[in-house]
């Protein structure tokens, strides 16, 4: 529900007025302020450094001040990285991310709906317990049997090998968050759908899905981020260079050209750019949703 996500902002408004009146905020929080400025520097310096370095010529890198922007910015590093097949890796990452996120969120949403609506069913409560347990188990520990299963399914070295476990790993948190939001849908709405003769399948897509759209977006963005950045699965399940996803390609590239620091920096920037665009696009949903999902 949209109200769930906007709740913090709505609360914030009266606080602001009240604070001006009684004024605990009038006395500055020096410790917090100082820490936040310091932390800002710690966060920005590496990002700034990667960015400026990616535009430096390799020949000038070793003689220039590392914190100063290049005198003559060059695109040659980006050209070099793109020539090293990064378009292909980008496409692979898009296929794996979309191919895993869409089914993962769809099946998680259906499961979350069933768990909320069918809480009286022992089977569904057990399913919920199983998913919750998945949150406590470090799923990387299952990598050896996953490797075995993928080999037996003859999927080794294919993008599908990355997609299937990614879907499974995304399910526990997605079900948990989506179920929380479906629970917020007023019971009367379900009841009126039932009186109108709608079955559960129709209610799921016509009522629950539109009302929990912000949560669905949050969960999708979060999963997309996790899967886009995933490293262990491709490391173990991919062999051919053509099947690599971006993080694995980045690691290989770094191993091959570690002396060419500007090129490595350009590769880091290029692999990160799509996420930054996504962040600019869905920042509110991602941060608001994460806060609502974990706070308290």
């Amino acid at each position: 529900m949209s109200t769930t996500l906007t709740r913090p902002q709505q609360q914030a408004a009266p606080h602001r007025e009240r604070q001006h009146r009684t004024g605990p905020a009038r006395r500055p929080n020096w410790l917090g302020g100082l820490t936040s400025v310091l932390w800002l520097a710690i966060v920005i310096i590496p990002i700034y450094w990667v960015l400026i370095t990616s535009f430096k010529a390799q020949s000038s890198y070793y003689v220039s001040n590392p914190m100063l922007p290049p005198g003559e910015p060059t695109m040659q590093n980006y050209r070099f990285v793109i020539q090293a097949d990064f378009i292909q890796y980008f496409v692979n990452s898009v296929i794996v991310t979309a191919g895993a996120v869409i089914p993962a969120v769809t099946v998680s949403f259906m499961a979350a709906y069933a768990i909320v609506r069918g809480w009286s069913s022992r089977f569904l409560r057990a399913a919920n317990g199983l998913f919750l347990m998945g949150l406590a188990i470090p799923l990387q520990a299952t990598i050896i049997p996953i490797y075995l299963i993928i080999i037996r399914l003859h999927l080794y070295d294919s993008l599908l090998a990355l997609i299937l476990p990614s879907i499974a790993f995304a399910i526990p948190l997605s079900v948990l968050v989506l179920a929380n939001f479906i629970r917020d849908v007023p019971k009367e709405l379900f009841e009126s759908m039932r009186i109108d003769g709608a079955n559960e399948w129709t209610t799921l897509w016509r009522l629950a899905a539109p009302l929990t759209r912000p949560a669905i977006v949050t969960v999708s963005v979060y999963n997309a981020l996790t899967i886009w950045n995933s490293f262990l699965l491709p490391l173990i399940l991919i062999q051919s260079p053509t099947q690599r996803t971006l993080p694995l390609a980045l690691w290989n590239f770094q191993g091959q050209f570690s002396v060419n620091v500007p090129a490595v920096a350009a590769a880091v920037v290029l692999t990160t750019l799509p996420i930054l665009v996504l962040y600019a696009f869905g920042r509110r949903q991602l941060l608001g949703g994460l806060a609502a999902g974990f706070s308290r």
């Binding site: 914190m67 259906m110 069913s121 990387q140 790993f169 570690s258 920096a265 974990f294």
Partner: protein, 300 residues
């Protein structure tokens, strides 16, 4: 209470609901539950990752339990867990409390703070590796001796670097959790404390911190269970080195299984990882008096 038709329909509906959960269950059982059971089974076998799987009873368990490497990996995992928790928690609470205020520049700060949350561990590790290169990195270029040490070549430095980079990556996420939680503390509590003459520090320790109790437990659970899975970052940053100074359990598992082709012993480590994860989650749940997932449900 219900007529026979609605009763029947209710049953029909309830019969349909489990089918809605079926696809998620199939994926989860196939690629999470079966692998967890499978890894236990594989720990009683000998397998090189390519050939046939031979049952071998307790051989791998005996070999691993008498291997000092395992104890060392457990110790390193524990140290990383404690050190990264001790660095992240106070900073996240401080930053989260600060970000929950209503300064105008707070929004801008938040946008920048959360960037590390978006980057892949591989990209972060590669950046720090290049940035801290003793010959060509930041320290050498600026002439700062502290930064131009051989960060990856000396055990204590490499360990500190791992803890620092982990904090760099995850503090944003935990600050965000604390920011949300601090905003939920009723303002009236602070007003009352102020009438009583409590200062800012006093307010923080008497109101903010106690009110954050369950958030601290949720956040700590995520940090501690999450610290078992710092594979990508450590693998790319130090590969467990120098020597085995940063060789945590997940890395030990990977190296034995996929580099030394000893899937049996690697499975033993995986079983230990699963057990430690479950035990920690249960312990923290006890500690909190209620389930972390329960508190998440209530928080949403």
């Amino acid at each position: 209470m219900s007529t026979s038709t609605t009763h029947q329909r209710g049953r029909g509906q309830r019969g349909f609901l489990p089918w809605l959960a079926a696809p998620a269950l199939v994926f989860f059982v196939g690629f999470a539950v079966i692998p967890v059971v499978g890894v236990l089974a594989l720990s009683f076998t000998t397998w090189d990752g390519i050939g046939a799987i031979q049952p071998s009873g307790l051989t791998s368990w005996r070999a691993m339990l008498s291997d000092p490497g395992l104890l060392h990996a457990i110790w390193i995992t524990f140290l990383v867990m404690i050190a990264s928790w001790a660095v992240q928690t106070p900073l996240s609470i401080l930053l989260g409390t600060f970000l929950a205020g209503h300064q105008r520049y707070r929004g801008v700060l938040a946008v920048v703070y959360f960037i590390p949350l978006l980057l892949s561990s591989a990209a972060i590790a590669i950046t720090y590796k290049a940035l801290l290169d003793p010959n060509f990195g930041l320290g050498a270029g600026l002439g700062i001796d502290f930064l131009s040490q051989d960060w990856l070549g000396r055990p204590t430095l490499a360990f500190s670097l791992v803890v620092f980079v982990v904090s760099w990556q995850f503090i944003p996420f935990h600050s965000l959790i604390y920011q949300g939680a601090v905003r939920q503390i009723p303002q009236s509590m602070y007003e009352a404390a102020q009438l009583d003459g409590a200062g800012r520090a006093r307010q923080f320790f008497s109101i903010t911190l106690p009110q954050l109790k369950y958030t601290i437990i949720t956040s700590s659970t995520l940090m501690i269970v999450g610290s078992l899975t710092f594979f990508d970052l450590i693998f790319v940053l130090t590969e467990g080195g120098p020597g085995d100074a940063t060789r945590v359990l997940a890395l030990d598992m990977y190296k034995r299984g996929f580099q030394a082709s000893l899937m049996g012993p690697a499975s033993v480590i995986a079983v230990i990882l699963v057990l430690v994860g479950l035990a920690l989650a249960l312990l923290l749940r006890r500690l909190g008096g209620r389930d972390a997932s329960q508190s998440q449900i209530e928080g949403a």
